[in-house]
């Protein structure tokens, strides 16, 4: 007997079309699993009633032969996507019980492709974090544990930690994420799933709670490269409501998946072996990944991305600066939390509402961003960071101009770490994004694919980076890596 929650999206689509099972059955299986694995805290708001309604509608469309690309597929929606009539929190207290009277473009695209909403996924507050611990709705638990410490809970990564844990924990076939500096790729790597940050402009930002507008990009998270390709096809597309949405056609991302990597030039950036040293274990996995692609016919090429080491510092100016402005709208006037005591004036209300509504990490970034933009510091911080950003983007362009088709790097500098041992120092925490941030700054597509288990039995992903809007090559290379790695391990918490 098949376990419906173990299926891939592609398999589930076939089963639904073949009427092996119904969308209602598939959804019910997930709702039951969500209840059973509530301890993961992957969802801030399960929406079982809505899921059942949507599944029934899917079954009706399947019966009429009108199935979409995601028809009947139950997914988790990161709670950064505004969902019409369904509470949206961005993982923050400040949004209170905000119920958007509108639907984000990406989620609307998924619904019109037939997807079913299981619930809103937990996340770091305003997508700021790498462990999901900044969420106002509690920690998310990674379904994986170390073999040497099987009872110690690990972080799922962040900020799309709920999405990653839900997909890895078999309580969603796929999930949406958003990635500003690594928020799809890092949790995907920590949870042993596939995550893609598309090219900036590929998916509309309309209706997604903004963190850093010049970096934010929505993307799919699923258990296989093929599933990610299917999902991306449904999410992407030009949106006239987003001025930064690219007016280009959406290809069939699944079409070229099996073409292999024969003849592809795979760039190996030497700067991703930082001076401080890459953990030998991660280094070895990276080398293995390189060998896999080579065995499949690709040609590894040594490349240089000289400004890599400045990417994190650049990011931690640009993202907080934009965030400090984007988050100014949470002021207690039109929606969300309002803290107002007897006799308070407007300014007291602003200060108290924002003081109480934002968590520590968000406040930290708002203050850094405010400072970086303030009179006298703009040139030294913000303008400087924008210039270094140019250099980082230029590095990638030079590599691609020299004929590299795709770049292979580790996705993260380490595997998942314990919830109770997450670094408390912000800068140490930021180092989690060291391999993903440069891609974000350059706006390029980046795919995280699980390739191996560490000695402690934790999944570790590698990252494939492509040219702007060349997700097809990235996915194709990702598929080759996936095939070669034959990564079939399942999270330990599922075995219990």
């Amino acid at each position: 007997m098949i376990t419906l929650t173990d299926l891939t999206i592609a398999e589930a689509r076939k089963g639904l079309d073949a009427k092996t099972f119904t969308a209602a059955e598939l959804t019910d299986a997930h709702i039951a699993a969500m209840e059973a694995r509530a301890d993961l805290n992957a969802y801030v708001l399960p929406t079982p009633d809505r899921a059942r309604e949507m599944a029934a509608a899917s079954d009706a469309r399947i019966a009429k032969g009108k199935a979409g690309a995601m028809e009947g597929i139950p997914i988790a929606m990161k709670d950064l996507f505004c969902t019409d009539g369904t509470r949206t929190t961005a993982g923050s207290k400040i949004l209170g019980n905000f119920v958007p009277p509108y639907e984000s473009t990406v989620s609307a695209n998924l619904w019109s492709a037939g997807a079913v909403l299981l619930g809103k996924a937990n996340l770091d507050e305003f997508a700021m974090g790498s462990t999901n611990q900044t969420s106002a709705f509690g920690d998310v638990v990674n379904p994986w544990t170390r073999t040497d410490e099987p009872t110690r809970k690990l972080v799922p990564g962040g900020s799309s930690g709920g999405s990653a844990a839900a997909v890895a924990g078999r309580i969603a076939l796929g999930a949406t994420g958003t990635d500003t500096g690594g928020s799809i790729r890092q949790p995907a790597s920590f949870c042993g799933i596939v995550g893609l940050k598309p090219t900036y402009g590929r998916c509309s930002r309309w209706g997604i709670v903004a963190f850093a507008s010049s970096l934010d990009q929505a993307g799919p998270m699923a258990r296989t490269v093929e599933d990610v390709a299917i999902m991306l096809g449904a999410m992407a597309g030009h949106d006239p409501k987003d001025s930064t949405s690219a007016p280009i056609a959406v290809p069939d991302f699944t079409a070229a998946l099996e073409q292999g990597v024969k003849g592809l030039k795979v760039g190996i950036p030497r700067e991703y072996r930082p001076e401080e040293g890459l953990s030998p274990e991660i280094d070895a996995i990276w080398t293995r990944g390189m060998e896999m692609l080579k065995d499949a016919g690709a040609e590894p090429v040594d490349i240089s991305l000289p400004h890599t080491k400045y990417a994190l510092a650049t990011y931690y100016i640009i993202a907080p600066a934009e965030a400090s402005s984007n988050l100014a709208r949470y002021d207690g006037v039109r929606y969300g939390l309002r803290v107002l005591d007897e006799g308070d004036g407007l300014n007291d209300m602003y200060m108290k509402t924002r003081g109480a509504g934002f968590g520590a990490e968000v406040k930290r970034r708002i203050l850094i961003g405010t400072y970086a933009l303030s009179a006298g510091y703009y040139d030294a911080y913000y303008l400087k960071a924008q210039k270094v950003r140019s250099l980082i983007a230029r590095d990638f362009k030079a590599a691609f101009d020299q004929g590299v088709d795709v770049i292979l790097t580790p996705a993260t500098p380490s595997a998942a770490f314990p919830l109770d041992d997450a670094p408390s120092d912000p800068v140490t925490m930021y180092l989690n994004d060291v391999f993903t941030v440069p891609t974000s700054l350059a706006g390029l597509p980046g795919l995280s694919v699980p390739v191996a288990l560490t000695e402690a039995g934790l999944p570790q992903g590698l990252q494939l980076i492509g040219r702007p809007f060349d997700e097809e090559t990235v996915l194709r290379a990702g598929r080759a890596l996936e095939k070669a790695a034959a990564f079939t391990a399942t999270p330990s918490l599922l075995e219990g």
Partner: protein
């Protein structure tokens, strides 16, 4: 660059985020740590480098001058903490 307590207080007011007095010092320490780490950007020669505000390689799209939106005050104020007669209400502002 290390930030003192008073600077943090000023930034917090500018950002309209209440920070209790006893948190100003620790926060100043954290922010200084981040800023010190960011100072490494000073090593990069950026003379003759254009600042990059967006990676989007396109020009600003525009829409036609047609009224396509609005007309739903109830949706606009549905989530308001305090509203009356279609208005948002805030503590009285003295100009």
């Amino acid at each position: 660059m290390s930030l003192d307590k008073e600077t943090v207080r000023k930034i917090a007011v500018l950002a309209r985020v209440a920070v209790p007095d006893d948190q100003l010092d620790p926060l100043a320490g954290e922010l200084s740590g981040i800023l010190n780490w960011i100072e490494q950007l000073g090593e990069v020669d950026t003379s003759d480098v254009e600042p990059m505000a967006s990676v989007a390689d396109m020009t600003l799209p525009w829409r036609d001058d047609v009224v396509t939106d609005g007309g739903y005050p109830e949706r606009v104020t549905a989530n308001a903490p305090d509203s009356q007669d279609g208005f948002y209400l805030v503590p009285k502002v003295v100009e």
